[in-house]
Symmetry: D2
Subunit: 406 residues, 4 copies
């Protein structure tokens, strides 16, 4: 693991230069955010659990084909010790002085993408309502919240707050062409386009709302309003969201107006949570926790992504056989997947159907307690943009930063 | 560069897996301490110099065979910016409350191995006497102080304090066999062995003293006394040191008695410095700063290490040709070499002669302003000990460290 | 290309060890039978065509992204010269003294798998009937005969002779489990199993006959009779073949009885050819020669293999884009595929449906004049059997061979 | 081993792409001429010995660090069988109809460089005098004849015929600059240069003659006369050769005049052999056959090459330790070395002294029965010339060769 995006480290041969340098082998670097150690840090309940999970990491295979764990090579203690401080959540504050933990990260494409369980617990111990982030769209971080984080912590959410913008609806409605991830110019972004907004909301947002509602939890849609958004566009989203079954829909202007701009949303969430608790409705995951990983992946693919099914490469099948033979076949699955589409293909916008989800690899994270399924060409060592941001950064002779902010 | 000793990263092939992952190439990882960026940090005079030097790093070769600098690919500013805080020396204090800067490191085997110039300058601006460290024996950090650091800062030392222990003299006198770096057991280490002490002092210490005295600077020998050292052993060193021309010889017991244990040494240094300044003796490096790197390396090899001369591999010659053709042939040379012997061979103890110093590689550090000559098999990515220290480390369920201290 | 099966050469990094050894790059070895040069040898019409095709081989890409041909780097002449003798067909004779050319090979899985055009032409110039081999099942060599060899030579066959054995029908009828390529023991192979024979004939043989008949050519089925075959098994195949539309069905015992054992077949072929020529029925390939390679591959996959369609990896798409941009997009396609199934998956016996054919790679053979589509995990550098045949071979002290024959 | 000069195969990583492709490892290709199998072919006495030696090849190391032989993995028999025909010497004839065996090759730089023992034996069985070739200068093939081939066959030569040309003496006399291996233009080659001829003969030829004479064998010098050679040049060589102790000196014009042109030489050889046999002088190798390989290499380096001694890289020492621990330390040594100089450095012409011979690697050829010592940068996979000869070769449309001869 290395904390730098360098695509030339995606696939490497190490140990060259003679036996003193170890065995020659093919390997890869991942960025730290995709590491099993990071996942353990955010899923562990306390120091003892942290150390135990680190010891459960499968670091290799014995010559007899059995898993070799970190604890078996004496690595658990030292790793735990190195993470002792990092395991304590970082307490920060908002500009208005409200406390906030920043602990664990939202990379829900290459990791499970949720804030740490220990931070949530500390927050729950001292506040009535805790808002925690699940990265990217609901098919990404929220799905993993439901099937990995909640399964680990035993604490399901009482409400889903789904944040949506006019421009994301335009994107999924086709206003910017057929390719996710490419940023149009400002004028195109901001130009009113009601029909694309409608189209995006009635396909993409609709599926997000219905998927989340199926877990048995209220879904409050928060429209994150930008200055350039028009009333017609906002209305289009509001109407669509209601029609898709949103519990309530609010306009949010936190970026412009601070806490005041989120008041409606806060009240809607409080109400939704109170009603939900009163209703006694159960939390309904897509599958029982102890079914096979392929059943889990298939359920997520067909019921959330609306794929026809999954396919597996020979490599994935081989790894699956090994994982099952070691007794890990029923762990949760963490789908490593593009954040730009419900599918594995970043170019399929809106609410695509008719595709098959290709699983290229399975990676066992026995310590974190899940199996990573790598979909399509998903990279766990991302590349940098074509024009590095570094080109705009500099320092003057007095040590002042240039080009970093704004 | 990576901050971890992993011998399997000494020689790697990167960029495998197709054109999206960059060009396939052979490369190596070094540990951070051996990095040119670290050397720049400790040699730069101010922010502007820091940025300029970073920009001068030669990061590759153009298709026409010319050097490509970091500044030419837009990398200087962002690197400078990342180092902005790191460039400020860390002020710490001793147990007795005296200020001390910790900034830059003593890895004088794989790097130039001296504390930072900026820290020394800040210290000199607020104290009458500044003590700064040069790592390992005088053939290592002190040689590099004289020819690299002093040449960069323009400030030569007014006194050399040479620290010596009875057990190091025993080692070089042959008490522990013929191999540096292997630690004998406690009983062997502590058993009185006057003849080995004499032998070590009259060969190894003698050469260190004479080498340093040749720079025209007083040499104060500090015998770092251990409880097990006998009077006869201490006397043996003292006599030998005087005979080799030490300006004065002191017993130091700072480890046992704190500042009080270093009083004699402090007074001896004050006196030596005052006499030296009064004498007006010039500082005399081994060579003029603008001679060719091979002349510099030969002078160090023959006059400090007492080798017959140097030899170069075909690879080293090729690199030398390129370095010269780019106009860098007259930079200072930083000898990457074992700390266990005056020679390149860790098994040659005492004051070896009759060997030829093999230069396996030259590496241009144009930003740091020197050329690294890698002697013999010196590794800039060290290995770990056979029994990892991590095996003794652990954390209990309350987060208490176990096995780290003591 | 190397004439040895060594799986460790399937994926290699070459050019390590410094610039004198060339550029570091990822590469692979293929066995000679899979080489484009071999394909050119068997498809070329004369010496001039041979030299021209060798020059058309695309050996790399220029820095501007254009194809670099062998002729552009001066390689065509020397290659042609090396192949001068090899281009002349080898004339052998059967045990009964009939002339036979052996020229080019039947590896219809990793190559186009047909005897050379020049040998066929020489045979046609001196005989009334020429029998030429197309390797493996009709989905392999015969498909490539129709779409590659016939398209190149301009000469379509006047009759298909489809050879079938009782045991292959048993295999496809499920008598030996669900896996192609694994040889059952002798007793199992020879035990009468009429139901499996019927099942294999009505699925697998049926599809072969119908596929071939669709080209507008008579299909004569030759049942290659073994001593252990029972009358019931033979009848089962005969009945099924007639029902599938075979022009005629013959029992052949050439292995046991020489030319006499093939008399019925020969007469049936003569009659079929005469009727065919008299009928004036046109030869009907699956597609027009100038359609895009994806259309060709899709037609073969859906109409011959009966797949749902094709899928392509990102790598295959990238290569396809490049091939099309260079103007080669309409070349014939050579499907590199397992010989054990109509599909890409060796375990799908009989007449499978419901699968999608995965194209993992496209390789341009511009000199041979086709594009290789590598299906699934098809290897162009095969492995050796688990127990090397070499273990049974030896030589005695007089130089006598041991263990080579029988 | 591969029969093609491709420098990008000098250092490779193989077995990439997953466990099905074998273990990832660093390896190299050598050209066939440098192979141990080739050496075995030319040193074996009969089929039984051939098979036994093939079985003795050390193909790897067991996990316990012991040698693994080809016979232990069942490889000896199949290898022997493949070489059965190749082991039989090829009988050719000269233009005048004299029989000649061509069997084994003269690559005395990267191999032991002598014709096969079996061919010599067959020749000796049917002729009174047998002339056999030892490749390159006497420090190359002839040294290896004395210490490897003769030690294996038990048959020392009765006469050394040393072939010399005027232009080689000019080269070593400095007429063409200081670099071996670079061909001057025709005019420079042919221009009379008596002083350079004298200088070359009195340094280079002198050392060759004295080295060979020290084995106790007559040395007949054959001056291979070219049309452009002047009498003064020829005389210079003749005088020098006599002074260095040549048994006799003959002018040879076989190239121009066939057998007639070699009559003087033949008669001189007959006489030298008869006198030698009559004298009963013993054959005197440089060392006893059972001394350690380092003693052998040192004797060759100091007494034939006139070096100060040898040096070894750490790699060579490591390999030496292993070779000795396996009990092979006393095998003959085969020096892989440049043919352009008595030293390891192609640029040292004439009769250089004052150098140390660097051994970079030892390679055990346990089946061939020797240890290869690789000197300096000697390559066992040569590169091709800068301008490939292939560029001048072609084939016309009738299959006629162009540019191959003349």
């Amino acid at each position: 693991m290395i904390d730098m995006n360098d695509r030339s480290l995606r696939q490497v041969t190490v140990g060259l230069g003679g036996p003193a340098n170890g065995l020659v082998r093919e390997d890869r670097f991942d960025i730290t955010a995709a590491s099993e150690v990071m996942a353990i840090l955010v899923l562990a309940s306390d120091y003892a659990d942290l150390r135990k999970r680190l010891g459960e990491i499968v670091v290799g295979t014995s010559t007899e084909g059995n898993p070799v764990k970190a604890s078996e090579i004496g690595g658990a203690g030292a790793m735990a010790l190195l993470l002792r401080q990092a395991f304590l959540p970082n307490l920060a504050q908002t500009l208005e002085g409200n406390p906030a933990f920043i602990h664990g990260g939202p990379f829900a494409n290459i990791a499970h993408g949720n804030s740490s369980i220990i931070a949530d617990r500390m927050a729950l111990a001292s506040a009535d309502f805790v808002v925690t982030e699940a990265g990217f769209g609901s098919d990404m971080g929220a799905e993993k919240f439901m099937h990995i984080k909640a399964a680990t912590s035993g604490k399901a959410p009482d409400c889903v707050v789904m944040n949506v913008t006019v421009r994301s609806m335009k994107l999924h409605g086709g206003a910017f062409g057929d390719r996710g991830g490419i940023r149009p110019d400002k004028a195109t972004l901001e130009a009113e386009n009601v029909s694309a907004t409608v189209s995006g909301a009635r396909t993409n947002l609709d599926r997000h709302i219905r998927n989340m509602a199926a877990f048995g939890i209220p879904v409050v849609v928060s429209i994150n309003k930008f200055a350039s958004d028009t009333d017609a566009e906002i209305s289009a989203i509001r109407d669509a969201a209601h029609e898709s079954g949103a519990t309530s829909v609010c306009i949010t202007e936190v970026h412009a107006n601070g806490g005041e701009g989120g008041k409606d949303l806060a009240q809607a969430v409080v109400k939704a949570v109170q009603n939900h608790i009163a209703s006694g409705r159960p939390f309904v995951p897509l599958f029982k926790p102890d079914v096979d990983v392929v059943e889990k992946a298939t359920a997520i693919a067909t019921r959330m992504y609306k794929a026809n099914g999954i396919s597996m490469t020979a490599k994935a099948k081989r790894e699956l056989d090994r994982i099952r033979s070691w007794g890990y076949g029923n762990l949760p699955v963490c789908m490593a997947k593009t954040q730009y589409s419900f599918s594995h293909d970043a170019s399929l916008l809106g609410a695509p159907t008719g595709f098959t989800v290709p699983i290229g690899e399975f990676r066992l994270n026995a310590g974190a307690g899940f199996i990573v399924a790598v979909l399509g060409n998903m990279m766990t060592m991302p590349g940098l943009p074509k024009r590095p941001a570094a080109l705009d950064m500099d320092m003057d002779e007095n040590g002042n930063l240039l080009g970093v902010f704004g």
